[in-house]
């Protein structure tokens, strides 16, 4: 085997809903975090593939043993199939970035992967195990830290990263965040989906819709506070496509994450040294796909009034903010350090 010389550095954001990769060769890709294997020989013949990933898997789900292998930002516990799905997802991301398993000879891959802020040691070890054959060296970081690093918001900043599985909060004090500086809440995008599903079912019991439809409705029309445009969706009722006004349900579902989010934000703020609290309050960064809920930034600013006011900046393109941050870390880490991270 030839000695590997060329190095590809990548940042990977393994998300419950979407996973993204940013690579030092300029490639950036995002895929939906779904992996599916054909259910039988017929399905394999039709699909002409042994494994399908992302949107392609979702679109052909009726013929697949479909897995969404990450739950609350972590590999699902106890399922070999989900572990295999994570490996497939990672290999897929790497191949999109130009490091597929067949033509990897001579290419070293240094990867930075984000995990939820309060991931336990065992979770990090699971990620390391899943990636051990796919990359040469691996650095695991907390997701909000990767976001902060990528945005260079390293001092007197609070990052609120709301994804599908988790909401991560992290105060950056110019040092590596400790447990006291971070929080992970399990009320995030998926929680909103569940609430929206339940509330819509209660109001329109005769309507038929799936969680995938509910997710699409949320991505289109989520809001907190008030909206001038009603949220109207289409779903079959007794087989007939029917328009349903779900504005009230959408608002309730989106606002269901607010109590714990606001409480955690204010609690973390009280833990900041008093002379820096105002700076942190005025430098709150809201990222993640669920962070794009209309009106959420303003609502958090309104809640900050209770402690003297503050400013919330919403990251406009949250899809790659985590993986770009990971790539920044991968680029800045000296080569000597990567040699320590091969285990």
């Amino acid at each position: 085997m030839s000695e590997k010389k060329e190095v590809l550095r990548v940042g990977i954001d393994l998300g419950t809903s979407r996973s993204s990769i940013s690579s030092s060769n300029g490639q950036r890709h995002v895929v939906e975090s779904y992996v599916g294997w054909p259910l039988d020989m017929v399905a394999r013949k039709v699909l002409k593939k042994n494994v399908l990933i992302g949107r392609e898997a979702l679109d052909n789900r009726s013929m697949l043993d479909l897995h969404r292998p990450l739950e609350q930002g972590l590999i699902k516990d106890g399922s070999e199939k989900d572990e295999a799905a994570v490996r497939e997802l990672l290999w897929h991301l790497l191949s999109l970035a130009g490091a597929d398993r067949e033509s990897r000879d001579g290419l070293k891959v240094h990867a930075v992967v984000g995990v939820p802020a309060e991931a336990l040691r065992i979770n990090k070890q699971q990620v390391r195990k899943a990636l051990q054959d796919a990359v040469d060296s691996l650095l695991i970081v907390s997701e909000p830290f990767a976001v902060a690093y990528g945005l260079e918001e390293l001092l007197h900043t609070m990052i609120i990263d709301i994804g599908a599985g988790t909401t991560d909060l992290c105060v950056m004090n110019g040092r590596l965040p400790t447990e006291e500086d971070q929080r992970t809440l399990t009320q995030a995008g998926d929680f909103i989906d569940d609430q929206l599903m339940r509330l819509t079912r209660e109001r329109y019991p005769e309507a038929r819709f799936s969680i995938h439809m509910v997710r699409a409705w949320k991505e289109e029309g989520s809001f907190v506070g008030s909206t001038k445009t009603p949220v109207v969706v289409t779903a079959p009722v007794n087989g007939k496509p029917t328009q349903l006004d779900i504005s009230r349900e959408m608002q309730q579902a989106c606002e269901s994450i607010l109590p714990s989010l606001v409480e955690s934000m204010l609690d973390l703020l009280t833990r900041v040294q008093p002379e820096y609290q105002e700076k942190v309050r005025n430098n709150v960064v809201l990222s993640g796909g669920t962070g794009l809920i209309r009106g959420l930034g303003q609502r958090l600013e309104a809640e900050l009034q209770a402690v003297g006011g503050g400013k919330v900046k919403v990251v406009k393109d949250p899809i790659f903010v985590g993986s770009d941050g990971g790539l920044s870390i991968a680029t800045d880490a000296p080569e000597g350090d990567w040699e320590k991270l091969t285990g």
Binding site: L66, Q72, L120, R128, R175, T186
Partner: protein, 346 residues
């Protein structure tokens, strides 16, 4: 710019070290704290505020989601913490909903309604971690998480949803009046050997074990019953079919709990399914268990318990157990659709 670069270099050094520690299986190194005086003052202030608010639901809401509250850092838990439960005025014996024999003909039935009992609450604080986090706050947090997990498939009734006093009698009466199918009481253990970590689950039954007798006496202190009263009541119920159902529920929940928690921390031991005369179990008319879901006396376990994600794992393990019981002959399989095989919940 130079300042940012300096910060980045330091962050990268720390990050790499943290990862090397993970690879080599070392525990995270304690970080030098900036502003430790501030932290000390803040903790002291928190302790004072907590004392002032003791018993209010506001305190509990602070404790519940974002992390632990240091309620009384100066008084770490110790052996006997459970026996220090305050004993309220004796409950009138007649006020207790008398246990009725259960007719086996009514089984098997679907599990539709689950009562979740968050142990302790209000003036009954339970035990506490060495850091001062109270059992009553942790049990409520886990109970609320469990409720969220189960309410998609079951009707869920909580015996308390805030930091409030609810007597053992009231808990049982509430479950009986709700027509619950099963009753799950959540507690956290204090084990004399503080190196021990484990989970155990109880169902109602007699015991000859002096430790369990002491534990039950401590947990039952709020009820106002004497042990003689207890024996009288127990004689009427031990032979019932409910005991078999309760034992089965305990076995399934204990299995799920141990399987999940042992995977997270291999040191967590299976302390087994045990019978003990807990009043809260006696007061109920349906299959009922009391799960000791963690050991607050163990330093590592106490550190984990302050993490919301760990409490979520415990809730998920309990939910897994309840669902498995519901599926195992007594339950309606359609209620757990989506849990097996394909993980996509439609």
């Amino acid at each position: 710019m130079a300042k940012v670069d300096r910060i980045k270099r330091q962050l990268l050094r720390d990050l790499v070290q943290q990862n090397v520690d993970l690879i080599e299986g070392r525990r995270p190194r304690p970080k030098p704290r900036h502003g430790s005086l501030w932290l000390g003052l803040r903790l002291a202030a928190l302790a004072l505020v907590s004392l002032a608010l003791f018993g209010s639901s506001r305190l509990l809401s602070t404790l519940a989601e974002p992390g632990p509250a240091v309620a009384a850092a100066a008084h770490p838990g110790k052996k006997g913490a459970k026996p220090t439960l305050p004993a309220p005025a004796a409950t009138a014996f007649a006020g207790f909903a008398a246990p009725r024999p259960v007719d086996a003909a009514i089984f098997p039935l679907a599990v539709r309604k689950v009562v979740i009992d968050a142990g302790h609450g209000g003036t009954s604080v339970g035990t506490r971690t060495p850091q001062g986090v109270l059992e009553k706050a942790l049990t409520l947090d886990i109970a609320v998480r469990l409720k969220r997990l189960l309410e998609k498939d079951f009707q869920v009734v909580m015996t308390r949803e805030a930091d409030q006093d609810v007597s053992l009698e009231q808990r049982g009466t509430l479950a009986n009046r709700a027509g619950a199918d099963i009753f799950v009481s959540i507690h956290l253990n204090w084990i004399e050997n503080r190196r021990s970590r484990g989970v155990e689950t109880y169902y109602l039954g007699p015991t000859d074990d002096p430790y369990l007798t002491r534990l039950a006496a401590a947990e039952n202190r709020e009820s106002g019953y004497s042990m003689a009263d207890m024996r009288h009541l127990l004689d009427r119920i031990y032979a019932g079919v409910r005991q078999d159902k309760s034992r089965k529920l305990a076995e399934v929940v204990q299995g799920a709990l141990f399987h999940s928690m042992h995977k997270l921390s291999p040191e967590v031991a299976d302390r087994g399914v045990k019978a003990a005369p807990f009043i809260v179990l006696l007061a109920t008319e349906m299959p009922a268990i009391l799960a000791e879901v963690s050991s607050m006396s163990n330093e590592d376990e106490a550190q984990l318990l302050i993490k919301p994600l760990y409490r979520q794992y415990i809730a998920e393990a309990l939910a897994k157990g309840v669902r498995a019981y519901a599926q195992g002959g007594e339950g309606a399989p359609e209620m757990v659709a989506g849990e097996k095989g394909n993980p996509i919940h439609e």
